[in-house]
């Protein structure tokens, strides 16, 4: 397999356009990024009851997430161990068994063979055959606050190391629930965009574009972007990045700016439950601070109260699936959350449709015009500052993109 020398294609302040459309680069990304280190798959709340299952993707792999009848969560490859048929056809559901339509083999919810029709055809070998034809599970699976990550092959780093820079952000999200749990049960808006996956990953921590790409929405709703714009780009480490809203929100001091600026009197049950669980002072701070806005490399975007999962399809096509973050124990919030999510997100979303459009134009530019070869990624180099483990800069700066490329290079490097 041809190995691309990525170090020659990524500089301190520039990136080569080839990385967005070269098929050999894509193949190497599959090996090193999608199958070679931790990627986000699903949330435990998507399979709440024993027997629940749903189909997901890891890179180009089809997988099935389920909760077995003993309550344990599994991540199986969606392939019958007999002769490779597609095992699970439905998007989601509940079943105590998996049954292959081809020859009727059945599998228990933990992946063990439950039944092989006409087993006399295996003679004395039957027990051995049965033992080695359990459903295959993804080798490396790890979870933080219900967010399930996996690595198909040996991961480039231990999970604890991978997740460390974004623990605080995930906590910030989950701790908006009076029960400390988020629920992703509202279904998914599935968006296919004709652009490389990195165009999307980079855009999620790009503050620079908002006043241009989303101008139509600010005009239509008579709002100014300055009212709710992020106050900084934050490089978290390991390729993870965030846009900070905490200064913006704290400066005004208003509660729920991340939720349409509603008055707490309209969600009395939620306020009471949060006060009860965390105390008034902490609860009030959370109403002000709200959720994080963090891009967990490579493919989990926590867009405040929406989850957006990026997957590659080809060098020039990707998918983005979104669902609103529902909060366990907060029914008053959740109803509104559905409608807010619908307005902004998805292929028809008043925000996202324009991001999708710009992403597709970017792919056309990158793949059908050869020059200039390099993308300019120097914005903010002069003014970014190191603060502990993080690098902070203006919300329009490109330190976040540079950090994505640094992590990308480390994972893709010839070793």
């Amino acid at each position: 397999m041809i190995k691309i020398d990525v170090e020659k294609l990524v500089g301190a302040d520039r990136v080569h356009g080839r990385l967005y459309h070269d098929p050999d680069v894509f193949e190497q990304e599959l090996e090193r990024i999608w199958y070679g280190n931790w990627v986000y798959v699903a949330h435990e709340s998507e399979v709440p009851r024993p027997g629940d299952f749903c189909r997901k993707r890891v890179g180009l792999q089809e997988v099935v997430l389920n909760r077995d009848l003993d309550g344990r969560v599994h991540l199986f490859y969606n392939r019958c161990p007999h002769r490779g048929n597609q095992l699970c056809l439905e998007s989601d559901g509940n079943s105590s068994r998996f049954t292959c339509a081809y020859h009727g083999w059945t599998f228990a919810s933990n992946g063990d063979v439950a039944g092989i029709p006409l087993q006399d055809g295996y003679g004395e070998n039957f027990d051995q055959v049965r033992a080695r034809t359990a459903m295959s599970q993804v080798a490396n699976v790890a979870t933080y606050r219900g967010f399930i990550f996996c690595s198909v092959n040996a991961p480039a780093q231990p999970f604890e190391e991978y997740i460390a820079p974004v623990r605080t952000a995930i906590d910030q999200l989950c701790d908006l629930s009076p029960e400390g749990e988020v629920v992703l049960s509202a279904g998914w808006l599935r968006h296919r965009t004709r652009c490389n996956w990195k165009v999307i990953t980079e855009n999620e921590v790009d503050g620079y574009h908002v006043r241009f790409v989303h101008r139509s929405l600010f005009t239509a709703t008579s709002t100014r972007q300055s009212e709710t714009k992020p106050d900084a780009t934050v490089v978290l480490g390991n390729g993870h990045n965030a846009l900070s809203f905490s200064e913006t929100y704290r400066h005004s001091g208003h509660e729920f700016q991340w939720f349409g600026g509603i008055d707490r009197k309209r969600v009395p049950g939620y306020v009471a439950a949060m006060n009860e669980r965390y105390g008034e002072e902490v609860a009030t701070q959370r109403f002000v601070d709200g959720p994080p806005h963090v891009m967990v490399f490579p493919n989990l975007f926590i867009a405040q109260m929406n989850i957006l999962v990026i997957q590659p399809l080809s060098p020039s096509e990707s998918t983005q699936d979104t669902t609103p973050v529902l909060l366990k124990g907060a029914p008053e919030i959740n109803q509104r959350m559905l409608r807010r999510s619908e307005a902004a997100m998805g292929p028809a979303g008043m925000f996202i449709a324009d991001d999708g459009e710009v992403g597709e134009r970017n792919q056309i530019g990158l793949s059908s015009a050869m020059y200039p070869e390099w993308l300019e990624l120097s914005r903010g180099l002069e003014r970014e500052r190191v603060e502990g483990d993080q690098v902070i800069s203006d919300e329009t700066d490109e330190g976040t993109q540079r950090a994505i490329w640094a992590r990308y290079t480390a994972l893709m490097a010839n070793s």
Partner: protein, 164 residues
């Protein structure tokens, strides 16, 4: 007998004419005129469900616009700054198999199917069934609900900012 037949035909004809007009306005991106086809009720509904269950109290849809949100969506397009509509795609749709499924006082429920071809650099086909709830008044018909169930709502959709 002739009177009954004439009435049945005339009911179908005004619905057919309304649907054809709505399709033309949506194809031609005539946002203001299209919006004027809606009743003024707050709970008007322009609905494009996602795959799976369709309970809006627990699940999100691609579009789930009440009357106020229809206004915002149209307003956004009228800015002529919506990147996904710059330039607007060329659209041609056919709406057919029109059946009046129910008449309850002045509310008519209509079911039909559509196929729409979109082109702007790339050729994309959309298709599905539409359920309309229309209110009939002396002034004519007005939309209370337009529910578009896409054939590929369980799959992945490309960007659509135009009126489906």
């Amino acid at each position: 007998m002739d009177e009954v037949m004439t009435r049945a035909e005339s009911i179908n004809m005004d619905v057919h004419a309304f649907i054809a007009r709505e399709a033309r306005l949506a194809d031609d991106h005539q946002f203001a005129e299209w919006e004027s086809l809606w009743a003024d009720d707050d709970d008007c509904l322009y609905w494009v469900p996602a795959g799976g269950e369709q309970d809006p109290s627990t699940r999100v849809s691609y579009v789930y616009d009440n009357r106020a949100r229809i206004r915002t969506r149209v307003r956004q397009m009228e800015t002529n700054q919506r990147y996904a509509m710059e330039p607007p795609p060329r659209l041609a749709r056919v709406v057919g198999n029109i059946e009046v499924r129910d008449t309850d006082g002045d509310i008519v429920t209509v079911r039909c199917t559509f196929i729409l071809v979109q082109f702007r650099g790339v050729h994309t086909t959309w298709a599905g069934s539409i359920t309309y709830r229309l209110r009939r008044s002396p002034a004519g018909l007005a939309m209370l609900m337009k529910k578009v169930e896409l054939v590929d709502r369980d799959g992945w959709l490309t960007t659509f900012a135009f009126l489906l």
